[in-house]
């Protein structure tokens, strides 16, 4: 008995409580024979691909031995397994070049999360109250097959709605094959902060429906319209890597960055010049710059080619975007516009980036087209230091399977309303859908919902049957990075470790379902690995003497120049039928009753809320406010003073569609007429770390759409802010002070 337990006993004996020892004492623990040969203390490195965002960075997983609690034939015991310990960037992978963002580091916590769904579940309570009972895999798959057969017999294949995470990569190709052969519409991949608007604009301007990639290391000057490309937008690690080289990569040359946005994002914080602009006016600024470039004969209108033609009045030098008009519309002074224009012209190669909030206004498409035209005018398209499109592999061509293109699906709300059966794979639309879409009510009516999610989030809580998926470390991890690398990349890697629980990989489950249907869909592959192997067989080997697939298992994917037949050709979408002119952004809610613009933004820890369940990310201090475990509203210093709001006070945000309460952070880095709030918190049910914490800004958004697309215009809502009470302790800041110099001297 050492000194410490002596003190422990005196404390307890004082109160007379017997000290109950918790857990089974060490000597009675059963130690099972490990089923893999592990050298204790020896680290093993295996490749993998990060699943958390669309960037698809390559990982190197460090594995070592660990004792896992296991139930074997009725007795609980411990078995030594090879467990993943740390995720590191894959040094050879072109997208992230060995680096990894904060979210990527925390991806390992999805595998070891205490609230993971460990076996198939069947709903045992009312839909939505989250009470489930265990069931076997055969029953679960049988249930889904039964429901799909019922649809088949009733001839209502169109009534199957499939909510998936992303529409790229082998997984979504398999889903597309499944739905096409079943006769159902294509899967709906609704991602609030996804960039459909930019893809549509790139299709119109450059014929490539794809996110752009920026050659930042060679750029001399970058102007970014609202794109938080160092934080959460597009491919942050690759862009961060490029940014580092842009600044200090070349001796004697230091790239510069100008950021045009209403609220200072993490990228804006690094800008040499931060240009606050009225929300939705980024497009007119881009056109103003183009006007100046053409007027001062720094660039010729014709240089813009097809992208320029998409803008009304382009060939005439954009006469009606004179700096004075641009100043009145955007609030940016003419002197500053001329300075920005000259910077773009003189510090070549220069490039313009657009993304995030500017594309989330009703005029988002015009803004994107304007910036594309500006890029074309600057001659930065497909030029060093400019804008590129990563060559995409054509999976159908590679795997020689017949192309399967299911009929296009409607938007989220219409599809949910019409659905008889809903399958959910890794998406949480209930959390990110606009309230007016009434998605929860629609799903309440759907006869049968099945989910493949590994966590019980808002949408999966509505499911009747849950068939839990492996996490990315326990199954084939794959990704087709749409951007972030100048050469083509196909990320794929086998399972890094054995599954911890009784879960199965969703692609294999889908294949098994397709085989068990009354009318089997006989997909071209028997297992998901077969599908991957088929693709890699078509690719040239990266090292002599071995084929692409064995290389991929060791290096984590394939990268290099694609053979011509495998490259997805630029879609021959016709140039816009009618050139588009700049339109004022429309805002929901009248200006008098709701004076402030509301700007929800993708938070650097949780993106759209899909990562709120990871404790490391909840406790990571936010780069701008240093807040942990909380959500907050950023208000301009002057506006806060006018409304009598002090730092930390609880405020109420009211729009014409909903209200929410959150603590206020008074910040100098936001326009006076804008109120910003990070998305990600405010989950109703999402494991112990995220449930019932903070507020979700999406609950007050208007269901406005971006003209020309059906993407949600999430920045087009006006709100009213009123102070509710003093600080209630829900805002947890890691930092004490936010300024370096001592204020004033008596």
């Amino acid at each position: 008995m050492d000194r410490r337990s002596f003190i422990r006993l005196t404390a307890i004996s004082g109160t007379g409580a017997a000290l109950a020892s918790c857990g089974t004492p060490e000597n009675e623990l059963i130690r099972f024979v490990p089923d893999e040969d592990i050298v204790p203390g020896q680290a093993v490195f295996k490749p993998s691909v990060c699943p958390l965002c669309s960037a698809g960075c390559g990982l190197t997983v460090r594995l070592m031995d660990a004792d896992a609690d296991v139930m074997r034939n009725g007795k609980s015991g411990v078995v030594r397994i090879l467990a993943a310990k740390k995720l590191e960037g894959n040094a050879a992978y072109p997208v992230n070049a060995g680096a990894l963002c904060a979210r990527g580091q925390a991806a390992i916590q999805t595998t070891y999360h205490p609230d993971r769904i460990t076996q198939p579940l069947k709903r045992s309570g009312q839909r939505g109250d989250g009470r489930y009972a265990a069931m076997s895999w055969d029953d679960a798959i049988g249930e889904v097959v039964k429901q799909l057969d019922a649809l088949e017999t009733a001839g209502k294949q169109k009534a199957l709605a499939f909510f998936s995470r992303s529409n790229r990569g082998h997984r979504s190709a398999l889903i597309a094959h499944f739905l096409a052969r079943f006769g159902a519409p294509a899967s709906i991949s609704y991602d609030i902060f996804g960039d459909e608007v930019l893809r549509r604009a790139n299709a119109i301007s450059f014929g490539r429906e794809q996110q752009p990639t920026f050659d930042l290391p060679n750029a001399r000057h970058v102007i970014s319209f609202g794109a938080d490309f160092l934080g959460t937008w597009n491919s942050p690690v690759s862009q961060g890597h490029g940014y580092g080289l842009m600044r200090q990569g070349r001796s004697g040359v230091r790239g510069t960055l100008a950021q045009v946005e209403a609220r200072m994002s993490q990228t804006g914080a690094n800008a040499d010049e931060w240009v606050p602009a009225k929300p939705g006016s980024e497009g007119v600024i881009a056109l103003g710059l183009a006007h100046l470039l053409m007027m001062e004969k720094l660039r010729t209108a014709a240089a813009a080619g097809r992208a320029g033609a998409a803008i009304d009045g382009w060939s005439a030098g954009l006469p009606d975007y004179a700096p004075e008009r641009v100043e009145s519309l955007s609030g940016v002074s003419t002197a500053r516009l001329t300075r920005l224009a000259h910077a773009l012209a003189e510090r070549t190669p220069s490039v313009a980036i657009v993304g995030g909030a500017p594309l989330a206004h009703t005029n988002g498409l015009v803004t994107a087209l304007a910036v594309n035209a500006l890029n074309a005018l600057l001659g930065s398209v497909e030029k060093p230091g400019g804008l590129f499109f990563t060559p995409q592999i054509n999976l159908a061509a590679a795997s020689k399977a017949p192309a399967a293109t299911p009929s296009p699906s409607e938007s989220l709300d219409k599809a949910a309303a019409a659905a008889q059966v809903v399958l959910i794979d890794g998406a949480n639309p209930l959390f990110t859908a606009a309230p007016e879409w009434k998605l929860r009510e629609a799903l309440q009516q759907v006869p049968f919902i099945a989910s493949f999610s590994t966590f019980l989030d808002e949408t999966t809580a509505m499911a009747d049957v849950i068939l839990p998926d492996h996490t990315f470390l326990e199954s084939f991890a794959e990704a087709l990075p749409e951007s972030g690398s100048l050469t083509a990349v196909v990320g794929a890697a086998p399972a890094a470790m054995k599954p911890l629980h009784d879960t199965r990989a969703t692609p294999d489950v889908l294949i098994e379902i397709s085989q068990k249907l009354a009318r089997p869909l006989n997909l071209p592959w028997m297992t998901f690995e077969e599908m991957l192997t088929a693709t890699f067989m078509a690719l040239p080997a990266m090292t002599e003497g071995s084929d692409a697939w064995t290389d991929a298992q060791e290096k984590g994917g394939w990268w290099g120049t694609l053979p011509a037949r495998l490259v997805t050709q630029a879609a021959a979408t016709p140039a816009a039928t009618k050139p588009i002119a700049y339109a004022e952004p429309g805002f929901d809610g009248d200006a008098t009753q709701y004076p402030l613009h509301f700007l929800p933004y993708s938070s650097s820890a949780f993106l759209d809320g899909s990562l709120a369940h990871l404790p490391w990310l909840q406790e990571m201090p936010d780069p701008i406010t240093s807040a942990m475990w909380s959500s907050w509203v950023e208000i301009n210093t002057a506006t806060a003073a006018k409304l009598g709001i002090a730092d930390g006070d609880v405020v109420e945000i009211a729009s014409s569609h909903g209200t929410l309460r959150a603590p206020a952070v008074v910040s100098p880095g936001i326009a006076p007429d804008v109120v910003a709030m990070p998305a990600g918190q405010g989950h109703r049910t999402f494991t112990r770390y995220a449930s019932g914490r903070g507020a979700n800004p999406i609950e007050v958004l208007a269901p406005a759409r971006v003209e020309g697309t059906d993407a949600l215009a999430w920045a087009a809502t006006r709100v009213k802010v009123t102070r509710v009470s003093g600080a209630d302790g829900s805002l947890i800041l890691f930092a004490g002070g936010s300024r370096e110099e001592v204020r004033g001297r008596g």
């Binding site: 404390a11 004082g14 240093s626 002070g737 001592v742």
Partner: protein, 455 residues
């Protein structure tokens, strides 16, 4: 200043020892329960983890270290006053010295507990002790905490002996007066004291040496306690003035503590015949002097910081002067400077109650002063990102209150076991006083005590 007759001294001073009323048991029970709650709360802190306190990043020291410095401060007046008064052979010291030395010993014991209480892993506190261990590692003698360890232990040994030695003749008196079990105990305690000139001479010489030795040790202890702060590069900590500043603060709070203790004893034990207003006035004047000295040091430190105008120093400066800690700061200035100056400066107010009010103010003020040295500086160091606000938790508040209860408890028990005024010194004083006055006092026939309310 008339001294009661010889025999009456024995009766008056031994009365608390020989007769105990129910009030004593009630008081001991009350104070004991407070101390017990503090013990249980400390054990719960050791058991559940240090998080039950209010300590946080970056303010890693709070109430516990404030109490530590405060109680080590209170302990200084006792020895310093009795030692100096003994050296200069001030006649009026006789009834005061033991009260003072007792405060020193008990305050030291309470203060010395706090380095253990504020440890994250108290069950390893013995690593501070330089003992040869098979791990071949010794404490780091270059650390101010190890200096604290040596200094406080030396000072504790010194002041305990300084207290105990003059008690031996008093034990002899009690041995002669007491009966039964008490007699056997005190016979053992008096360890054969007979009062031969040889013994008296040795005792007096020993007390002289101890008096000379204890003064530098007392000064060194609080300088070392101030080194705990001035050795660390923290804004408004790293200043050379901290040594004397803390020693002055210590004596200041010590005198205040002594005045309060003497006033309470005089009231409860009916020692009006021994603790005359002149004692309070002399100590009151000393309190006034120390208040001025303390004010001087505070002004000195503040001016140098203000004039130097370093950014991080000024951040702490304004926090205490104007912003979050300003109310505490100005209460401290009023309690430590304005109140003593007014009450002690004006003769009309310098009565016993005046002294007690001023002393209570000074005790509160000095506790606040230690708090305002530690917490604002730690919360606002060089990097503003890492500023922090400290909020004490119940555990710390209970233990802080319990320290005062513990002091009173120990004092009450001591007054029950040992005559609170040194009998033989009083008699020695009376003998020399009567020689000075031509006519012998004789037993002035003042009634022994007004009413039987004794403890």
């Amino acid at each position: 200043m008339s001294q009661p007759a010889h025999a009456r001294i024995n009766v008056d001073l031994l009365r608390p020892l020989l007769r105990t009323s129910w009030r004593f048991y009630f008081l001991v029970a009350a104070l004991g329960s407070i101390v017990l709650t503090a013990l249980v709360s400390w054990l719960s802190q050791a058991f559940f983890g240090f998080g039950v306190t209010g300590i946080r990043w970056p303010v890693y020291w709070g109430f516990y270290v404030t109490n530590f410095v405060f109680w080590i401060g209170i302990s200084h007046a006792g020895t310093l006053i009795s030692a100096i008064l003994r050296l200069v052979d001030a006649g009026w010291r006789r009834p005061v010295t033991r009260c003072a030395e007792v405060i020193t010993v008990f305050a030291l014991m309470i203060g010395a507990m706090f380095p253990i209480i504020h440890l994250g892993r108290p069950w390893l506190a013995f690593w501070l002790f330089p003992y040869p261990s098979e791990r071949l590692i010794w404490p780091n003698f270059r650390s101010p905490l190890v200096w604290d360890f040596f200094a406080i232990n030396t000072y504790l040994t010194g002041s305990v002996l300084f207290l105990v030695l003059p008690m031996i003749p008093d034990f002899a008196v009690v041995r002669d007066k007491a009966t039964g079990v008490r007699k056997t105990i005190y016979t053992y305690l008096a360890c054969g004291w007979r009062g031969t000139p040889r013994q008296w001479h040795r005792l007096e010489t020993a007390m002289q040496i101890m008096a000379i030795g204890i003064v530098p040790v007392a000064v060194s202890v609080h300088t070392i306690v101030s080194f705990d702060f001035s050795m660390a590069p923290v804004p408004m900590w790293q200043s050379t003035i901290f040594g004397p500043y803390f020693v002055v603060g210590a004596i200041f709070s010590g005198i205040a503590g002594l005045l309060i203790a003497m006033a309470v004893l005089r009231k409860v034990l009916h020692l009006q015949d021994y603790l005359h207003p002149v004692h309070f006035q002399n100590l009151g004047k000393l309190l006034l002097v120390m208040a001025l000295l303390w004010g001087y040091f505070v002004f000195n430190e503040r001016l140098v910081t203000y004039y130097g105008n370093g950014p991080s120093e000024m951040a702490v400066f304004w926090r205490t002067q104007r912003e979050s800690f300003a109310p505490l700061y100005w209460t401290m200035v009023i309690c430590n400077f304005v109140l003593p100056l007014v009450l002690m400066g004006i003769r009309y107010f310098r009565t016993i109650t005046g002294c007690v009010i001023a002393s209570l103010g000074v005790v509160v003020g000095m506790w606040l002063e230690r708090f305002l040295i530690i917490v604002p500086s730690l919360g606002h160091k060089y990097l503003p990102y890492s500023y922090g606000i400290y909020r004490p938790q119940p555990v710390e508040i209970i233990i802080a209150i319990a320290t005062f209860a513990a002091m009173m408890l120990l004092y009450v028990l001591f007054a029950k076991l040992v005559p609170i005024i040194s009998i033989w010194e009083l008699k020695a004083g009376r003998a020399s006083a009567s020689l000075a006055e031509a006519v012998g006092e004789g037993g002035d026939a003042r009634p022994v005590a007004r009413g039987e309310a004794n403890l």
